[in-house]
Amino acid sequence: MAQHIGAPAVASVEVGQSVAKGQEIGSAKGFVSVPVHAPTSGEVVAVESRPHPWGTSLPAVVIKPDGEDRWTADLQPGDPSALSVDDIVEKVRLAGVVGMGGAAFPAHVKMSPPPEKKISTLIFNGVECEPYLTADHRMMLEEPERILQGVALLKYVFGADRVVIGIEANKPDAIALLEKECAGAPVEILPLQVKYPQGAEKQLIAAVTGREVPSGGLPMDVGVAVHNVSTAAAVADAVLFGRPLIERVCTVTGPAIREPKNLRIRIGTPLSHLVEVCGGLTEDPGKIVLGGPMMGFTQLGFDVPATRGTSGLLLLRDEDVDRQEEGPCIRCSRCVQACPMHLLPTTIAAYSRRDLLAEASEYCAMDCIECGSCSYVCPATIPLVQAIRYGKAAILAKKRNS
């Protein structure tokens, strides 16, 4: 049921009940929450806590597919020209659309900025959020129509003047295809420098508009909204066909998988099935990472389901796992040069580890986007991101208590 950032949905079906594909099985609780839908038709065999990618057991609905894959009858296709902005946002919410980049933030929340924040620029993120992942690239190559339908809808919702699709310059095929598809439409295709973390929201905005989202602020503070290209496709499905978000594209890759692939997967598919489809493992993996190598979560096994935020499944071998023991900081300043937020990672990490929270926040610990660049370059292999994350959590906890 925990499929997105915000309050998880609550199961609304019972064991033994038969469900159709697209039927709501979990209802949203709160504004920053969306419903969950059955990914296929079948019978509910359990409503209980199951292992979740976040590492703990969380409430889940287990469906035994009947193989018919039968759509629910109450899908409501919509005519975009007849819908108001609020209708579109509501349809998006009901379809359970979330940001498909990986963070899985409910899309309808992003689509309802406060009225005083005028969104002038709408950016579509076609920049792969992390190395190894190619799901967005695949989406752009194979389903440009769906994406562009979503782009048009979102442009209408935001009333934006400028619409940009940002794509990394090393994907000329996607750029060429989208340019062809967009010919005549008021949409810019912008090739961007290939560097990590170009796909991070704030960095993307800076690259496209030259504006920096203020520290502690949101993109809307600089008049920008960012959506992933896959999110645009999901919005199109939700609004035009009334289809809920029950599938996504996921990159299954890494040195330990036999045939790396981009798969279109149903939400809730166990990871073991994804591995099977990709020809199985070449050897026992050393690390199972859900998401990308820089920000993904390690898993205890393959028995967890893919969620709406599962942009990738990365399988590393033992020898790919960095087991170097951490050494003292030699102040080489590589983390400082690498930090996309212009922070001093080593300083923040040192303060965080010593629980000097006031100092850590003075050095802007809360601005860290946890992209992992600093840990990646650190020659002393200090777990900088983990230390900063620890500090951030402690700072937040302290704020909440006082």
């Binding site: 050393g286 690390k287 998401g291």
Partner: protein
């Protein structure tokens, strides 16, 4: 699954560059300078190099054992300190002087502060300066370079900078022939510390470090640039008395200092702005000490002084956090 998986916080990949790899690269980069030193100063230089390096390694082991810490000489940082110390000593240094320097560098320059990464001053320079002040005679006895020299018949002489200072103190004029040997100065055919003589060899090594991206241009460029600019001012004002910038550049320890000593990561600022400031400060101090100080050479003092200022520089040159520069809110 039979075996246990690894779990950790993100990121899950690493560049593969480690501290010991960095240190090893620096050591390799010093090889040309060592080779040139042995070529010009013979076995004497080799002895100093060996004693200094082994002395540093031994001191590190002893210190870490005494403090009950894991011994980390394999990371190569003590070896670098040793080689750099040797390169900063005269070729005729007696064995006890070298050994004492090694002990000072590691014990007082580094381990008392908590070892690698915690020392505020460049350990090799701390040792050099302590020796220079304590044993001025031994530390300023220079031998003339003799290619493939036997090392036995040492001819004592003065460094070009020392000659200049002596001449200016005595006559107020610079002997013109001093500025005629630039090519020799560049190649290393002059008196001086073991490692500072050959700008060519040092630059070769530095090139390798640039290629490996261990060295960034900021400190060397600003350091050297400042020395050139600042010394030009004096030279242009009074060319009879003050040497030209090229002389400053090629004699003494400027190249060694700017590319190897002032770029020691531990004791220099972390931000780009801080590094630029650090380099300029080193340059200004070097020229001031060379032209107006009591010692003919000022590079090591300049770097140590700027080392002391590093925490202050770091404090005032913090990079502007993304989103605080004010070019944001336009709407």
């Amino acid at each position: 699954m039979s075996k246990q998986l690894y779990l950790s916080s993100s990121p899950h990949i690493h560049s593969g560059d480690t501290t010991s790899k960095v240190m090893r690269a620096v050591l390799y980069s010093l090889l040309p300078a060592c080779a040139v030193a042995v070529y010009f100063f013979g076995p004497a230089a080799l002895t100093v190099l060996l004693i200094a390096t082994l002395g540093c390694l031994a001191t590190e082991v002893v210190c870490q054992r005494l403090m009950g810490q894991p011994v980390t000489i394999a990371d190569g940082s003590a070896a670098i300190t040793g080689v750099l110390l040797a390169l900063n000593l005269p070729p005729s240094s007696p064995w006890w002087l070298t050994l004492l320097g090694a002990v000072i560098a590691i014990a007082i320059g580094k381990q008392v502060y908590g070892g690698l990464g915690s020392n505020p001053f460049n350990p090799a320079l701390v040792a050099r300066v302590v020796l220079l002040i304590s044993f001025p005679v031994q530390m300023t006895t220079w031998s003339s370079p003799t290619p493939f020299g036997s090392g036995l018949d040492l001819v004592t002489t003065a460094t070009p900078l020392g000659e200049w200072k002596n001449a200016v103190m005595l006559t107020g004029q610079m002997p013109p022939e001093l500025q005629s040997g630039m090519v020799d100065y560049f190649l290393g055919n002059m008196a001086g510390c073991i490692g500072e003589v050959s700008a060519l060899a040092l630059l070769l090594g530095a090139g390798y470090l640039f290629y490996k991206r261990i060295l960034t241009w900021h400190i060397p460029a600003t350091f050297v640039g400042t020395v050139v600019l600042f010394s030009s001012v004096f030279w242009l004002a009074s060319p009879d008395k003050y040497p030209n910038p090229l002389f400053h550049l090629l004699t003494g320890g400027l190249v060694l200092g700017a590319f190897y000593m002032a770029t020691d990561m531990v004791t220099t600022p972390v931000s780009t702005k801080g590094m630029l400031f650090f380099g300029v400060g080193c340059g200004v101090l070097t020229v001031l000490i060379r032209l107006f100080g009591g010692y003919p050479e000022g590079v090591s003092f300049a770097i140590l002084l700027m080392n002391a200022a590093t925490p202050l520089i770091d404090r005032y040159t913090r990079p502007k956090t993304f989103g605080t520069s004010g070019q944001g809110a336009t709407s």
